[in-house]
Symmetry: C2
Subunit: 139 residues, 2 copies
DNA sequence: GCTTGACTTAGACAAAGTCCATTGTAGGAT
DNA sequence: ATCCTACAATGGACTTTGTCTAAGTCAAGC
């Protein structure tokens, strides 16, 4: 995590208390917080931080490639700090829990030229859906 | 399309002018309209139709499995009438154009048990991203 | 320890979607 | 053909998520 802060400083990022708190909140594995959740946790450490700053900072982290934007449902975007290891997502239809997953193979190679409509295809995003053990037991 | 209306009537759907217009607007291939676009086109045929009715009707069509909800960007949901042939989507990062595509293989089989975290995985959604010919030429 | 331009703030604003009380009507019953 | 009634439509208020702006604040270089 301090790696991240160092890297950002090296790129000319001005280090402020607000930015540090947002970066710290996003630390960890299988972390997929919404902007408002990030804000709520940031407020615990820095009560006067504003929503706009959280949105701005998240946007910057995404632009810098340090955080990924994920939208698994049609609600709020989620922010995934695991940006340096490519992965996809597995989402529980019941409770919304999200896990990072690593399928085998390369889905990009599975799209035949005839199905590309002349597009330059550069990226693919895979979302698996199902029920987590808890929600499956409750159903 | 009249197939669709027949099928819905058979399931006890009360047929109204509003529902008919919404279903008609959604007819075709590679159709991926937002709720507001559906509303705009419905208004051309039935000026007094309300936004709430369009939302309600789209929601019902989705519940009945006749239409798919697609969220390729973080903007509005899009509605895809091509619900009976499984497919994925190819989206232009420039202009937002969407095409239905059919990759080879079955991505569901590509998720090892060890990567399922005990989930019952039932569905997978694949979104390819790139540039359409027009946007690639403009870039 | 100044200065300055980048950063933060609060609140207004916007887009997408939901909710609800009221009004209207499709389709079966008579 | 007309009547009834449960289901559907309406419009407007409300919510959620996110963006924008003008004014104030502060990190970092000198």
């Amino acid at each position: 995590m301090s790696d991240l802060l160092e890297r950002l400083r090296g790129r000319g990022w001005r280090m402020t208390a607000q930015r540090r708190v947002v970066a710290e909140v996003l630390d960890g594995d299988h972390v997929h917080l919404t902007a408002d959740e990030v804000h709520a946790r940031a407020v615990e450490r820095l009560p006067e931080i504003s929503r706009a700053t959280v949105y701005n900072t998240l946007g910057e982290l995404v632009s810098l490639g340090e955080v990924l934007e994920v939208s698994t449902d049609r609600r709020a975007k989620r922010y995934d700090p695991n940006a340096h290891r490519p992965h996809h997502h597995l989402v529980c239809a019941g409770c919304g829990a999200i896990r990072d997953v690593h399928p085998i193979g390369n889905p990009l190679a599975d799209l035949p030229a005839a199905e590309r409509f002349g597009f330059t295809v550069s990226d693919v995003e895979v979302t698996y859906r199902g029920l987590c053990p808890e929600c499956a037991a409750a159903a």
